[in-house]
Symmetry: C2
Subunit: 647 residues, 2 copies
Amino acid sequence: MTVQESTTGADPKGGRPVLPSRGRQRPLGMGETTLTGGFWATLQQTNATATLEHCEQWMERLGWLANFDRVADGTTGPDRAGWSFADSEVYKLIEALAWEHGRSGDQVYDDAVRRLTARIARAQDADGYLNTCFGHAGRQPRYSDLEFGHELYCTGHLLQAAVARLRTTGPDELVAVARRAADHVCDTFGPDGLQGICGHPEIEVGLAELGRALGESRYVEQARLFLDRRGHGTLKDIPLGRAYFQDDVPIREADAWRGHAVRALYLSAAAVDVAVEQDDQELLAAIERQWANAVARRTHLTGGMGSRHQDEGFGEDWELPPDRAYCETCAGVASVMVSWRLYLATGDVRYADLVERTFFNTIATSPRSDGRAFFYANPLHQRVPGETSDDDAVSPRAEGGSRAAWFDVSCCPTNVARTLATWHTYLATAGRHELTLLQYAGARIEAELGDGRSVSLEVETDYPQDGLVTVRVLRAPEGPVTLRLRVPAWARGAELDEGGRRRPVPPGPAVVDRELEPGEEIRLHLPMAPRFTWPDHRIDALRGCVAVERGPLVYCAESVDLPVGTELDDLTVDTRAAPRYHEGRVTVRASTNHRNDPEPAWPYGTPADLGGTGSTASMDLALVPYHRWAERGPTGMRVWLPVARPS
Amino acid sequence: MTVQESTTGADPKGGRPVLPSRGRQRPLGMGETTLTGGFWATLQQTNATATLEHCEQWMERLGWLANFDRVADGTTGPDRAGWSFADSEVYKLIEALAWEHGRSGDQVYDDAVRRLTARIARAQDADGYLNTCFGHAGRQPRYSDLEFGHELYCTGHLLQAAVARLRTTGPDELVAVARRAADHVCDTFGPDGLQGICGHPEIEVGLAELGRALGESRYVEQARLFLDRRGHGTLKDIPLGRAYFQDDVPIREADAWRGHAVRALYLSAAAVDVAVEQDDQELLAAIERQWANAVARRTHLTGGMGSRHQDEGFGEDWELPPDRAYCETCAGVASVMVSWRLYLATGDVRYADLVERTFFNTIATSPRSDGRAFFYANPLHQRVPGETSDDDAVSPRAEGGSRAAWFDVSCCPTNVARTLATWHTYLATAGRHELTLLQYAGARIEAELGDGRSVSLEVETDYPQDGLVTVRVLRAPEGPVTLRLRVPAWARGAELDEGGRRRPVPPGPAVVDRELEPGEEIRLHLPMAPRFTWPDHRIDALRGCVAVERGPLVYCAESVDLPVGTELDDLTVDTRAAPRYHEGRVTVRASTNHRNDPEPAWPYGTPADLGGTGSTASMDLALVPYHRWAERGPTGMRVWLPVARPS
């Protein structure tokens, strides 16, 4: 069974980033879901009131916006502001503003979209080309550096921004600009055109979605062309190898995500879009396989992807160092993009499990609670506390440790912004006679099922603080409805309570399949006792360690919580005592065994050489949710805690 | 007590790379030591007969030599061959050739030095400036990119080459070229000149040694100026931070080696030279402190330094991942340079312990046994076998896994070449009434002591295969002589046998202090049973693992030695059974526990989730010396082996 919905022009369901024309599940639009409070509503509100303005101010200050004015005014030159991909940040901000306008209806965001659109529209060439880095006076020629020029990458983000505008507001100047840009790309790189691809995938996912949103199959076909042109050494070799931009192996043949993580994931998201639109089972199966292998062997506990700083890349199977984990925030966004598309195509809630893990432990980790500073990399272990960030400075570095107001390469803030603005569209999906709840948050849902009937629900929960999710039926159609509630993979011992009839529900979809009664309540009880989590023995960097999780949240120890005179390096955890949750805090039984080093010594030898004499301190150590680490200032941090050997 | 020796012009002792004018120990020259056979004699011979020619051929083929001709002929332009530092490879080759000529007296190496000198001399400007990358038609101006231009770095290598020539042959055209270049540097960057430093230290160590070799204290003082000018933000900030080129903290104040490893170590070598020449105890103490901290917390078991690929840098304390260990071959060479200078200054044999470890396990690891391919990085764990290298191609990558004939950045082959050509000068040193044997190899030593008396010894040994070192006195002076034999730190249970009187000698110098008899034999018995070595608990990446060492050699497991159907990832070692040495092979009792994965799964959970069912194979697993890994073709490899938990 597939659910089909065709929407070109403004989205009658209020807008959503991804709208496949077929697939197992239909995503709900912004008109169908509203957050009423809780964890994500708070983040969404901070995003709307602080982050969006913050991003625009920085891009104005740094001249990234003025780059467009300079092209329009014919004053370009060698001194252009920012990296080649700075245009894309402007487009991602416009996308975020458009979604936020769609979500809240607040005119201020509409005004901002119009204001920014007017500036970029002026910079578009007559043939549709739009880029401030290439193709104008004093700049390199168009498409002269496909490896690293990011021209098509920037265009891809423009198209995604136009999709947001089109679906929330309807056709406007931004959509017209994007259509001209997309036509230019198809004319230039079509079957008989330049046989090139962009070093950074993104045009593909932009073309596919704009094609769907406008009913232009030519755009989708151009995305397919780009996908299949890749993997044949189309780009030049580079010191990092062609795997860096996934030009080493054709996407249909590859088994593993490799190279630059964001590049690999944007590419895969597009591949799912194309596979679904063109009913290309081979291509869909390739991404399902790559997803499964990466999740099993190349993903950190937080859902973070990318183990190498050198190339912001995946690394090899089992290469998952907590200290050097890169786990770029943008790779978290991109991973959600892929998993969400795979879920819509297949209906398999495993994909939503990874979406949840990544939302809570990678994407939510990035923004500071005031929405005005961000993590770029998200390591799982920080030995040396980061520096206190200067909110008035651009950070030249991606390293973890402290959130920065802005980065020299500032892809993450705008990516977080556009994702948070749409968070509620990942909450639930509709099938033919069915509604699936995927994420849990206080919300109202008024969804149309595939059969045309509609259901109205209210969800009440303090998740992830509390494990009780109450689904109240506000309005129900005649006849049976299949209500599916995702029981996360971590939730062993969950129970579903229908009017007092309580039954265990294993991980996967918990199904209620009957006529619903207005006013009735269905309660999902998710087990929220904190738990120890062990790593596979093949992950060398985690040997002898455990992590602590509670519900969907990964926890960590911060050195600021250690007693004076004890060191994070000397910490061990006693796994014979279960972690506890009490008065809102997770604690573990821990010790620090501090060896007195009179002078530095060779750190390899017999146990007797290394044991030394020392002092031991035992304690109940409080852990904090990983997504809030470093909120109290610079600190050492560990997600993975060494296990004390039984004495 | 300090030993003083002043030699300007040709070295009456036959040449040596480092000749401090004071210090606790005097290095022996090439006229005082000869290798008679064994491990290092073989490497030295291969270096002479294969590597030197190999390097010259590659640099001719790639145009790095022709760069000099083009400057001389006025045909430079934007299309110059190689990186900005390609000149330095030519200089390192000349240095290696000069030493090899000094060692062997073979005219072919002398001819090569003259041939190459003639080409570089033609490229020198009238004012002494000599660089093929900057300062000529179609190129950037002189000293316009001190951060990354490597101009002074190249000059430093020119000066070191001239030292080799001067000490082995006497003043010649190369020495004249170097003197003009050094004068130009002093004139340009002196106290009243440009207040700049080079992004890559090396000029300092070149100036200091040429100053010593020519009796030009001005050069030493210029080296000091460069040293003290560093650490104050003299260079621009870069994304990697100023720590990358040690411009973040003044060298006298720093506690840790940090940033790019080769840069940090070349700088420290120069600091010891300057400290010794100018009797600067503060500066000497700073490098002793930095050495001690790095050896305790930032050094791999192999002596390798550098834990990050991103910046070829140290990383933080305890950041010692075996898989991503960078351990650049050149950092091994540079580490020996520092340790050797510290030993000469202090007489502390701990420094020679690290020299031995680094020689056997980092520097000897680099060249393939035919001397025509090299490791650049030296990781301690290889998951995916490297590719079979193409001996006719330039490798764009530094990654470990397979030795490459040449690299795009090809600093390591010439660095290995110049080091191997002088290996015998690290064998022994003289004090006032004393001779110290530091490294063990079949050799003849005819050394002059500080008091003017001379001693002649023959050393017989199959070290490191065998632990017996026989020192035969060939000729002895009247009166007592202090003979010191370094007992390595790893050698617990060593014994010294003087004419049948056998006594235990602990690590450190074993001392014989009496009149020596011609013909008598002193035997050092070093314990050669293979041993398990554990890591400090603070090295997270090695938790739960042991390594195996035998004598000075680190061993490793290679996947090519595993039974078919077993995986290196599944290997565990039973540490209750001691490692064995039998018929030339080291073996450990090992198992592989292969879990059957029907399909990829989330790799974090309870032990029950992760245990699965599987098959166990037990075996006596043969290990190979780390320095010979990948000699039988591409293979997986592990130095650190997970310990089986007692069942």
